[in-house]
Symmetry: D2
Subunit: 300 residues, 4 copies
């Protein structure tokens, strides 16, 4: 694939879940199986090593292996994004290079967050600039306040968007007004990607053109169809489908998190696998609830 | 006006600011002057005694006088909503009756919030049910987490929406996914009103039909035009106008609050007046910033 | 009583609960009965109209009647503090005067909080200065972030402590380092009163000399004995008693709030009465838990 | 050293800062120099790889090298604690073993936190139990909500304290009531260590016997003297010294964080070095403020 640009980032990407065995090993076979399922679905590409991939629990070797497998098995022409953010600037530079060598088309770089209150504009601008300066592949900023307790400012996005090697961002806030502000501040050479199905339809209506959606692990075609309907001017069908998916999305993001996502994916035919400890598999009552949500939504 | 129903609540309503003199008296003349200006604008009605009215700083006598003046001077056919929520259930029942006698068509009732952590579903359901049972005019729930630190649950809204005298709610969260959930949970006989211009266009796209918007104090016609364009299918024009207004909206809500709203209203030809103490008027630097935002947005 | 000064504010004060009848009327007789019980206990004075008094749910007439009854029935020589804070500066000035006329020795003035994000140093300094300038009785600042979501700054306390009519503050944060900072910043002519039994012993160890403690409604003598032991140099006995009371304190403040406080007070021989709506009485399971906590702590 | 037990954990430990060169390399020489300075001070031991060590920015190789150097250079008889917590259970088990091999006497294990809302009692109990089961050296739980946004419950501490290989915890909340609850819940075979100088004196008064204090990097003898005075019954001297140190502690923890700590350490004769990117060194104005705080406190 030639160098990725902001305008080629459109459509739906699953932040791919990582199946583990019961004893906690990465189940690479199941990962590849899922990838082939997703290859058959309407998707624009893949995010490997996202928040829903339990990346925080993966070793570097595992991360690189998953990236290489994604490159090997992804349908030709699909975009491969890799989550490469680490806490230190130098380590992120180093790992971004490794991910690029394994085939990532662009790196999605998490805001550092351990000292969340110190992550002001100067710190974040310096961090992302140094990473972008030292990366062969383009960079997207990853803003996910729910996990990091850091929320990058509109002003920092404005400044960083002018860097030729920073081509966009993923914002998972679900705050549509903020998505709009990022988009306005960044200008035209920058892709603002919506990071949650909770606002997928509203995000489309304000001109967002891509979504990295946990829900796309489970219902990729439906996520893409919302966008297709929207682009075809069938607004009511788009919105109706979006509304139909909301209860499941709420369950796998807000209520139950990754263990919920994995169980829902399993119910819908994917290889969800076990979460890695400290995460625990869902209990019986929670599994019943997800079962019931999927049935009520007519997704099975 | 005949009894207000959920389906007649559509369009834009300003939560009317209350002008004060420099010494802190309510400036009723200026209030009436504004009302006449707004009568000439494209609006569906008025909210008297909202958060932007500095209601927390008004005496009961002042509140009733403002309600009566609204009834007297509002253009015929326009809906008059009055904010009647107080901390105790019994006091809210009593004051809602008084507001109805002064001409309010419906009461917007704030969630009680002093003991915010105790405001669970049982408490809120009991509170709003008792108020609705005892009110001659219909009730709308007012959910404004920014000020109350209470966020009514989707479940409580679901239950309360079945009360024949609770015809809707105003949600000022700016959380479009939550607006959608309230709408889905409440069913068809219930109006979910968007409470912030920050998501006015996205709210329209998910089927919201009314907005009580602080910004409508300053730019009522523009706020209404966003909705008109949307309903006429001119989506791009609707969205463009929405985006044009965002910076001013951010300034008068998030950044500067009511003193910012009042200064912006003054710049745009209304009688903003002074805020009441403890609020202080904007300083010179902040005034300049609002001036500049209004100029940049081409609103003058 | 001669004019209250900072150094006379020492010892334990209950923020007196307000008993209501099942139908929601203030039960003045029970209030007076409690007052006589407390007169027989080791206490320095009383706070009428505090957070635990459900003041947010009282009418002005009820508030003044409770203040007058406190003056009439309080044991001679005990200090009467009245919570007089309202949202607007002018209304607080007016009501503070009324409370003084009914017999309050000093006014405890809540930080205004509806527009919590606007309550910066300039706003709070102006507010409290105007109130202190216009009050015949001395003023104490009341900082209770849990309910107000406002936390007055050390700097604002430093400046306000220099006003001759501001003689101290109540801080209910339970943050001992902050209590220490307020004390250091304010200097010697200012009483920093601890507002929660959660840190009563640690507060004594840093030199705090007074506590307005919800728990003192239920166990006034024990609360005072902690201080007596401490002042007599019997540190281990002081700390042991403090630790013995912590589980009950946690239940009546964090877990169950005012309805829990009222039920515990009833169990311990006081007239707890009903809470006023929207607050609901405790359910069966919660009552059992409080019963069990009181038994385990050996308080009965 | 023979196996560490809960009762041997007493006194003051600096969470040792990690000096970096301007280009961002670990400056091991300066680290060793500091260690020798601290060997000459009144300290009970050292924490290597704490929050103030910028551990989040260190590679595994650097972490092990720092642990080995601590073992090599620490004065005989002093306790060596190493921060070994990582996000996944298995990785924490693995790294704890490596740290033990390099000489750590006990491991301080951070609560995992990326999916902070999923870190409930069951998850944390399972995580720490598995780590303690698989570690040759004893484990202390590390609770630091400011950075992790996770706050372990009193109940989880109660259960985990019964594990024979979990000998205590560090709580950095500065919440004295919570320290007291952890202590009461855990019983006698468990050391609750205070993690912030903000409440060092109050913590001593409730029976806490150890402190891992950022401030002990800069003023180790003073931190220890507070405890010595306290244990000698010289309470007023203890408290006065505690109060004297508070402004500097506030600056290096709340206001300026690690870059502030490093600058203060430099001013006081230690090798503070540079922070590692993304952290930035303090600007001129902030340096002046710290200079002034140190002078005002009479620490130079």
């Amino acid at each position: 694939m030639s160098r990725l640009t902001h305008d080629t980032i459109s459509g739906v990407f699953p932040p791919m879940l990582t199946p583990f065995t019961e004893s906690g090993e990465v189940d690479y076979d199941s990962f590849v199986t899922n990838l082939h399922f997703w290859n058959d679905a309407e998707l624009s590409g893949y995010l490997v090593l996202g928040s829903n991939s339990e990346t925080a629990y993966l070793t570097e070797e595992e991360k690189l292996q998953l990236t290489a497998l994604t490159k090997e098995h992804a349908k030709k022409g699909r975009i491969i994004l890799a989550g490469t953010g680490l806490e230190s600037t130098r380590d992120t530079v180093r790992f971004t290079r490794l991910a690029a060598m394994k085939g990532a088309d662009a790196a999605l770089v998490l805001t550092p967050f351990y000292y969340s209150e110190l992550m002001n504009d100067a710190v974040l601008i310096n961090h992302f600039t140094r990473i972008a300066d030292n990366s062969d592949i383009p960079i997207l900023i990853y803003n996910v306040t729910k996990f990091t307790h850091v929320n990058i400012s509109v002003n920092a996005v404005h400044i960083l968007s002018q860097h030729p090697n920073i081509i966009g961002m993923k914002d998972s806030s679900g705050n549509v007004a903020q998505l709009e502000q990022f988009k306005s501040a960044a200008g035209n050479n920058y892709a603002v990607v919506n990071g949650t199905a909770a606002v997928w339809y509203p995000a489309l209506t304000i001109g967002i053109r891509a979504g990295i959606l946990a829900l796309a692990n489970c219902t990729p075609n439906e996520c893409s169809l919302i966008q297709k309907y929207y682009c075809d001017g069938e607004l009511e069908k788009s919105r109706a489908l979006y509304e139909q998916l909301l209860p499941l999305n709420k369950a796998i993001t807000f209520q139950f998190g990754v263990p919920g996502l994995k169980y829902a994916a399993t119910l819908l035919g994917y290889k969800g696998g076990y979460p890695r400890s400290p995460l625990l598999p869902l209990g019986e009552a929670d599994r019943k609830m997800i079962n019931s949500i999927i049935s009520s939504a007519g997704l099975r």
